[in-house]
């Protein structure tokens, strides 16, 4: 793996190379070089499989980290490529031409994180949500409790009780 890294470093600008396990490595790449890096890994170094593409929200740094996990079935090594992108203008190049199922990951990230992948087929067709108007729900600043309180409300005609108080009254009515 170190040999591959040396070769890659001559072509691409790579930071933070770390080995997590014997079979798992992570590198951080530049946003602009990602598509050519993935193509290079796939065609030259046999990282032929894209396992997943996911995003991590670093709201405090105003960044999204995209993780592209690739796998080499000859050497049985997984390589995660991390790319940091701006959270405000969240946009990334599409890789649907490299792997067919990347399109689904990109559709999911568009809907749940609001990261755009221009040119990806059916990118706006939605993934799991229907008629969603709020901010993308997987972002860290999306408050699930606030959303639930705003959207759903208790049905009228129902009483709520403090469970401890209610059971005390029910079991020991003579104490009241």
């Amino acid at each position: 793996m170190n040999e591959i890294m040396e070769q890659l470093k001559q072509i691409f600008k790579l930071n933070e190379f770390n080995q997590e396990r014997e079979d798992l490595y992570f590198i951080t790449a530049e946003k602009e070089q990602l598509v050519s890096l993935l193509t290079h890994l796939r065609d030259i170094h046999q990282f032929t499989s894209l396992i997943f593409l996911q995003a991590v929200d670093y709201i405090e740094d105003n960044l999204f980290q995209l993780t592209y996990m690739t796998h080499n079935y000859d050497k049985h090594i997984s390589l995660g490529i991390r790319v940091k992108i701006d959270r405000q203008a969240a946009e990334m190049s599409s890789i649907h031409h490299l792997w067919e199922h990347a399109e689904t990951f990109q559709r999911e990230l568009k809907e749940l994180f609001g990261i755009d992948f221009p040119g990806s087929p059916g990118i706006d067709s939605g993934f799991v949500l229907e008629g969603w108007e709020d901010i993308p729900p997987m972002r860290k600043d999306f408050d699930t409790v606030k959303y639930a309180e705003k959207t759903f409300f208790p049905r009228p005609g129902r009483k709520t009780h403090d469970p401890a108080e209610y059971m005390k009254n029910k079991l020991y009515p003579e104490n009241n």
Binding site: E20, R21, D23, L24, F26, T48, S49, L50, I51, F52, Q54, A55, V56, D57, T67, M69, Y73, H76, S78, G80, W99, E100, H101, E103, T104, P121, F127, V128, L129, E130, P137, M138, T144
Partner: protein, 389 residues
């Protein structure tokens, strides 16, 4: 399968068929979300011309419980009761992967006995999952009786799980640090008895399913996945093995005690629904054999759980990891990012259905007879909750 040259119908523009519903040549049919021919909560939007499917779109979102978002708001120990719900037929893979990822990030070593018990439950759940699948596969080709047999036998395994963990469907048995308990007295002999029953069942299924002309006629040549498609669509597990790839994480990157067990990776060559069924059927036999090996060699005594830090205040140092295991449907994995707090920063689940049920199914369904869609879908062994986590 179809007469005449259909390559020019319908016209393909930008990779998509041009479908004009007003032309009265096409009908849109929904298969699901409530339909015996789909696996769980998923809907297939079919555009058919006659009885031939010209386009299929997969719709998910009928179960969406937002597991990943939910996990970000739970402490690490609270999360473990949620993860098993991500895949109903085979929850133990989720439990194992979640626990394994946390153990790796938190530098926790688990005792030897726990490794054996974890492997035992993983193989038992693999067998239960396959039993459910073979019922669906036979049922989708009109042989409902096999489904009744196999689901009844799956129940015998669920009885054992109930005995082991207290839960039939969701076991919550594999927890960070080990497992929740040792096997109860007499468990091994009851397990052996169930395995003998399953042996008989598999013999019966072999006779009535794989030698059945109806099944052969419909499944041979259905949904062929070429070798080139495997990596392009991210296909793993029995679907990749049926195409001739000997890829199995239990062999390639042995986890738990799989390196101590004796087994070979089963492969096929024709890569159609029939070969996939054959590969899975052989894996059922293999699973029975692996369970027998495990119970014969498992250490009788020993710790099954290691001491964890106070789980109510458990903070894991910043880091990220990706752990994988071979589930019955293919390679299953958890990507966990921690940031030093008591909550995970991000948990992403990658199940094999993610590519199988969407991009791959959409591709394979084109030009298939509408009656075979159910059989095709089950032959990819999909489980929608792992798509819409």
């Amino acid at each position: 399968m179809f007469e005449g040259d259909r390559s020019k119908f319908p016209e393909i523009k930008d990779g998509r068929p041009v479908i004009d519903l007003d032309s009265q040549k096409f009908i849109k049919v929904w298969q699901g979300p409530q339909h015996p021919g789909v696996t769980e909560n998923i809907a297939l939007e079919l555009t058919v011309s006659g009885d031939e499917v010209v386009e299929l779109k997969t719709h998910v979102g009928y179960l969406h419980r937002g597991f990943e978002k939910l996990l970000e708001r739970r402490t690490f120990i609270q999360g473990f009761t949620i993860v098993c719900r991500i895949c109903v037929p085979e929850p133990d893979t989720n439990e194992y992967l979640y626990a394994a990822a946390l153990e790796e990030l938190g530098n926790i070593e688990i005792p030897e006995k726990a490794l054996w018990l974890r492997t035992l439950t993983l193989e038992m759940s693999r067998l239960a999952s396959f039993l459910m699948w073979i019922g669906g596969q036979a049922g989708s080709f009109g042989m409902g009786t096999i489904g009744q047999w196999s689901v009844a036998h799956r129940d015998f395994i669920l009885d054992l799980f109930e005995e082991l963990s207290g839960g039939r469907i969701y076991h919550m048995y594999i927890i960070p640090g080990g497992v929740r308990g040792d096997i109860p007295p007499g468990f091994v002999s009851r397990l052996k008895k169930v395995l003998r029953k399953i042996d008989v069942l598999l013999e019966d299924i072999d006779k009535v399913l794989f030698n059945n002309i109806l099944f052969k006629k419909r499944a041979v040549g259905l949904g062929v996945i070429t070798k080139e498609m495997i990596d392009k669509f991210g296909v793993t597990g029995p679907a990749a093995k049926a195409a001739g790839y000997d890829r199995d994480l239990r062999k390639d990157l042995p986890y738990l005690i799989y390196n101590k067990l004796d087994f070979d990776v089963i492969t096929g060559s024709d890569s159609d629904a029939f070969t996939r069924a054959k590969v899975r059927f052989a894996e059922m036999h293999q699973s029975v054999e692996l369970i027998r090996q495990i119970i014969a060699r498992m250490p009788e005594k020993g710790e099954f759980h290691t001491k964890l830090p106070n789980v109510l205040h458990w903070r894991i140092k910043p880091g990220e990891t990706w752990v994988q295991a071979e589930a019955s449907r293919g390679e299953y994995g958890y990507y966990i990012v921690t940031d030093g707090s008591a909550y995970p920063r991000r948990i992403a689940v990658r199940g094999p259905s993610y590519s199988n049920a969407i991009s791959l199914l959409q591709k394979l369904a084109v030009n298939t007879n509408i009656a075979d869609i159910a059989g095709l879908m089950v032959s990819l062994h999909t489980c929608p909750p792992e798509i819409e986590r």
